[in-house]
Subunit: 171 residues, 2 copies
């Protein structure tokens, strides 16, 4: 009767993510930024001067994808790449001043989306949902030989105040 189809969970996950992605793209469109570029900037806002590799890992994304994104963001002057101080293969990535300002705007512009998402859930359950999602991601990554991918979700990734919110921190 209620034998849930096995594919319900993957399909629901897909539908939810695509909906989020579309909404985000729409919200950022007038700023000339995409949803994924926002994720990248958010990652940099949290930990600046990362290696492209580190950046890709924290974004759960691919190095070559990240490179393409960086090229575009660099053109807009939102991001800056410098040679790594000790490793001359690597390049460090950082938000420019303009990039930080832009990110603050984007953060505000996307506030509605975050609020809506949370409002769709019983207030108690948002943490549970987050936990489930992380467990799912960790489980799926654990089997796949993506190196150290499972570390990234569960750990706060060092640093004390890793708050992403650039507005409440504001001066």
């Amino acid at each position: 009767m209620f034998a849930a189809e096995k594919s319900e969970l993957p399909m629901a996950l897909r539908a939810a993510y695509l909906a989020l992605h579309r909404r985000s793209d729409a919200a950022f469109e007038k700023y000339g930024i995409t949803a994924d570029q926002f994720v990248l900037m958010a990652t940099l806002a949290r930990g600046n001067a990362l290696t492209q590799r580190e950046l890709a890992q924290r974004m759960t994304s691919d190095p070559s994808t990240v490179r393409a994104m960086l090229v575009l963001l660099e053109k807009q002057g939102l991001v800056q790449r410098d040679v790594h101080p000790t490793d001359s293969r690597a390049r460090t990535v950082a938000l420019t001043v303009s990039g930080r300002r832009k990110f603050r705007q984007l953060w505000v512009a996307s506030e509605t989306i975050r609020t809506e998402m949370l409002s769709a859930l019983p207030p108690t359950e948002s943490q549970a949902l987050i936990g489930f999602l992380r467990r799912v991601a960790n489980t799926l990554n654990a089997m796949h030989p993506t190196p150290s991918a499972s570390d990234l979700i569960s750990e706060p990734t060092a640093s004390l105040n890793t708050s992403l919110d650039p507005v409440s921190d504001r001066t």
Copy 2:
């Protein structure tokens, strides 16, 4: 203290989806099929002879994206497009015999992934997670002017036996 960051939910959703997508791509690689093509085939397996438009809606995807996918799947002989019986603008899409057989293989090949996902959750909670994800998707879609997108998630979309599982139905 435990003031959850507002971006945790979106980020966790993204990480979980990308992990699922990667795992699926890896599982289907040896069959020459992608994760998204599997979704398309699954949608057809459930309701054949759909319009490209209907297909796109049920997949929570874009018509022009679906078209590109259909072209590729047609080359592989897995899918077949015919002119619509009454509407000469439209084309109906259906799995070929070969497509159905391939889909059965893919279903088996991806069984592990579905099982792993469920195993990552407390057994009682999988339905809850699915419900949350659907609510999130519906909420996000409801605001965005994507026509009738919110209908797609909650409804079984007609038909009696809409089971996706092609194996237990077999013969």
